[in-house]
Symmetry: C2
Subunit: 351 residues, 2 copies
């Protein structure tokens, strides 16, 4: 029995699982930055503005080294809850899934080899347009090239991301594209009112309903890059978008770039699905006929408080944690209980 | 009949061919820079100092786009003989072999996604040490990471390079390591005396026979990066070093880093083997028990003068041309006559 739940189109989800079981996976990890994360109170992916920008490269370093280079500890919430990259690393390692880091505008470069794209960081959408239109076109073009290359090297290309503040820009892009999504967050008291205000103010700038204009005005650099990646990659191999709301925004913009929805799935954690403040499955199925694969990391059963916090609404998803666990399960048949024990072991190593 | 000649250890060469026939290949293209190329008369990979530095990124762009972005034409010798990347591109394209660009200290970044390593350019070895010792260690470390990742994605990792002036630094490293190599060049009147003088002067600085000291003092950034790559990659999959003298230097330094010589081969053109001023097969077999696969591109049969020039001693090899053609032959069974026709077609496209 495979420990994966399928939501949305069950036939397509079943086909995706069948197509990728016992196959080779490649995890690509897109690190990026939007100055939107500097709005006080909007994210907890780091303790303050000066530290937030280190979260994406630190996550990337942690996936490889099991420790970070650009900061001394691993990324944590202020009260010590670890980055979901802990789940990602454990899953990739147990299943021997290779990974590659892609820089799409991170402020800090990771101390590890990474694919460089020349994409700039995104601006704070509460103050000004996020990107120039030419930046969006560049990101889509480079995404297409990267997607084509990586897809030709694997049976399933998994795409995860780390961009603090990214749920807010994702919400803005979804709303801008006419999708009435609610949005998840890495905080249990989701600062929905603050996010709504930021999004509302940003959307007032929109002068057109052109998707490229929407992403450049209220989005972030990760969205067009990953949209480009799925566009080319889904023509070649299976592609799993590993994440929550942000990947819904990628999907929504991706419809304008084009993709093969028979080769595409979303992979995420049960915490995203169960999040009462979001409506993830509805949002995704409204956008495209793409199945959603769900793993329950069972962190509520953990003996470790820092891990139980995930199941209590903290973090929930990020760094492609859900998709990585699903990939490990598909590739090796490992069960979630064993994965949990390995995650706890990894946790003890870093503390 | 496969149009590949095996030299060196025939058994190992035969095994390599058998292991990789009809399999998947990945071509990695390392672009780099040594200020040694700025010594007047030492290279023709570009018309002058200001243009030479564009050759590696332009080659990388050409492989992908079929044209260059950072310069207006494609890299040419002063009298219009095209870059060997023309052969590389044709071979990769006909065999649907994906490629990935790795930046190891190029002065100019290519306008295409590339793996960034944070490695600095090399200094002019006729004037000063090429690299700090810490640069060499960094390059080997990053090479190991890249080699491990790329090797896990393919049945055969092919490694080519573009570093103007690199035959001189290769010669210095070989001599420094006690290997009495002669050296090939991209000019028919190989400026052997000039190279010998540069190497002789550089070697005078050596205070020890430690290989890391030799590479940092008289080498270039490509050599330790690729040595790191073959070190990890050859533990996982088949690895082909695509090139001439420079890959001999990688092999020689690589012995200190460690590699699995049962999974390693050199792939090159017959022009390197036939070069009277070099002694390539002797040099390689003295270093390691690694087979040499050779393709005859038959350019002497071309109707196009710019291509015939290759067979007359110009260029001979570079941008992984030989190894790429061998990979295409191994993967698809294409014969060299058909390859030549495709190369001519590609040539006509760019002129």
């Amino acid at each position: 029995m495979v420990h994966i739940q399928i939501l949305g189109n069950l036939d397509k989800g079943g086909n995706f699982v069948e197509d990728t079981q016992k196959k080779n996976f490649l995890f690509s990890f897109v690190i990026s930055y939007t100055e939107t994360c500097e709005i006080p109170g909007i994210t907890v992916a780091g303790q303050n503005k000066e530290i937030i920008k280190f979260t994406p490269p630190a996550d990337a370093e942690f996936l490889h080294y099991g420790s970070c280079k650009c900061i001394e500890t691993i990324p944590m919430t202020p009260d010590g809850k670890p980055t979901p990259a802990l789940l990602t690393k454990t899953a990739l390692e147990v299943a021997s899934i290779p990974h590659i880091v892609i820089n799409a505008g991170s402020k800090i470069m990771p101390q590890i080899p990474y694919l460089e794209t020349g994409i700039k960081s995104g601006k704070n959408i509460s103050l000004e347009p996020a990107l120039d239109r030419s930046d969006v076109l560049h990101a889509v073009d480079y995404g297409r090239i990267i997607g084509r290359t990586l897809a030709s090297l694997t049976d399933c290309l998994v795409i995860g991301e780390s961009i603090p503040g990214g749920t807010t820009t994702a919400l803005a892009v979804l709303k801008g594209l006419g999708i009435n999504a609610m949005v998840s967050s890495s905080m249990p008291q989701n600062p929905i009112e603050l996010k709504k205000k930021v999004v509302f103010d940003a959307l007032k700038r929109l002068g057109s309903d052109d998707p490229y204009e929407i992403v450049s005005n209220v989005g972030d650099p990760m969205i067009p890059l990953v949209a480009g990646m799925i566009s080319s990659a889904s023509q070649i191999t299976n592609v799993m978008l590993a994440g929550g709301t942000q990947m819904a925004a990628v999907l929504a913009f991706g419809k304008s770039v084009g993709f093969n929805q028979d080769k595409l799935a979303i992979g995420t954690t049960s915490y995203i699905i169960e999040d009462k403040s979001a409506n993830f499955v509805d949002t995704v199925t409204k956008i495209a006929d793409v199945p959603i694969l769900v793993v329950n990391p069972r962190l509520e059963h953990s003996k470790i408080a820092g891990l139980r916090a995930f199941s209590e609404g903290f973090v929930k998803e990020g760094a492609g944690a859900g998709g990585s666990m699903i990939s490990a399960i598909l590739k090796t048949g490992i069960d979630t209980q064993t994965l949990l024990e390995l995650i706890e072991k990894e946790y003890r190593k870093i503390i």
